[in-house]
Amino acid sequence: MSALDMFQKLSIKDLAASLDLHPHEVVRVLVANDAMTDDLRFDQDAIERVRALGGVQTWWPEAPPTDEAALVAALGAKFIAEDATSEAKATRYDNLTRGVEEARHRDIRKAAQALLKSKHLKTCSSATGLRIYVTESGKTHLSG
């Protein structure tokens, strides 16, 4: 980092890259919380602020299972573990793939689609983007 960079404020792209979030999602989180700035520049603490305000999480500290059935089960278990168990507690849809290598995103989305199709998961829209949660039937099915 050059001395010039050190004193620069953060851009939306910087925030997005730090949070593994699309810049337009960063904008939505900022608008929803009346935190947009006129110059689109932000202090360092904005990263953690956006993370908290947007409910940005990293669900997979380790690589998710490669086996399809195991991935569906692991994904369902994540919803229970993270308490994304109602519309009010719904998690960001992009939390499902955050931190996972791009090549595996399709597998995770496919697993989520399987759970959505069986109505164990449900999506909802929010001011900070698309969210997803486990349904009552999903709780029973995935906890068992």
């Binding site: 001395a3 689109l40 001011a127």
Partner: protein
Amino acid sequence: MSEATTTTGLQEAMSSVTSWRQEAESRLTSRLEAIDREEQRLKEALSQLQAEITELDTLRASIRAENGGLERAQQEKAHNAMLQGLGNDRDTLASRSVELAAAHEASQAGLKAELADPEIAGLITEYERFSEAEATLTALPESYRHAILAHHETVKTRLQPIFARVQAAGPDLEAAPAALSVVASLENDEDGAPESLTFVLPVDSAVYSRWSDRDEDLPTRLGYRAVAMAAGLAKSLGAPAAPLTCRDHEGFLTVNLWLGDGEVSGDIKAAADAAAAAAFAGADQLTAAKLSASLEWLAPEVLDPPEDDETAAAVRIATPTAEA
């Protein structure tokens, strides 16, 4: 001596009657023939007129069909005009973006030279080291701590003008003011309720799809402003959770707000115009580039003209255009 034929007075009288009859019949026959000729002439003229009327009927039907297709043809022409206009604005935005980046780079070059000055560089090194060691200060005796903090304040004061210049916006361009259009379109459902609000920006859709590969240039920032404007608008209409999506539309970035899932309150177009005015007027880099932006409302059919059909095709054939 031959016997002379003689006619009686009566016979002569009767003969003259016969002659009168023959002459009268001859006159009447001539008149009837004249009437027949006139009738025939009129019938032929009538037949000709009937043929002309049939021709007019055919022409009328053709013109009516053409008139019915005019709306479709107009939508297609308006769609092409929209793409042309957005393309021109995209070029303007892109060139101003390059100029602005160059101006900013030039202003930062002077700053870089200042930062390389040994005295300033030394102060920056001190500043960085203080940041690293700040947490350990509590372990020091108070007098030492106070002395270090006081020195740090001096360093900060010396560097403050540098910080301010680093964080300052770049210089404004010396350029003629130019205006950009952002296309807006409101689509209603079958009952007339607002369903979908779309904004098409004079910006390449790659600012959305390939954001990580690109600089955060003026078009990118206009994209942020549009998303912020749409999200803020959703809030002001009482639908903060309205689904908001970005996608490509013939190369341009679109921001769509889905309003069909719930009740929205207020005049959507007026609210959108106000939101756009606030969002674009507050955009410091647009201002620096001497650009302004506003919404241009177009019908949904102009954004997405209906699929071609025979009528539209016929109209295109019937009305040759400059591009033909």
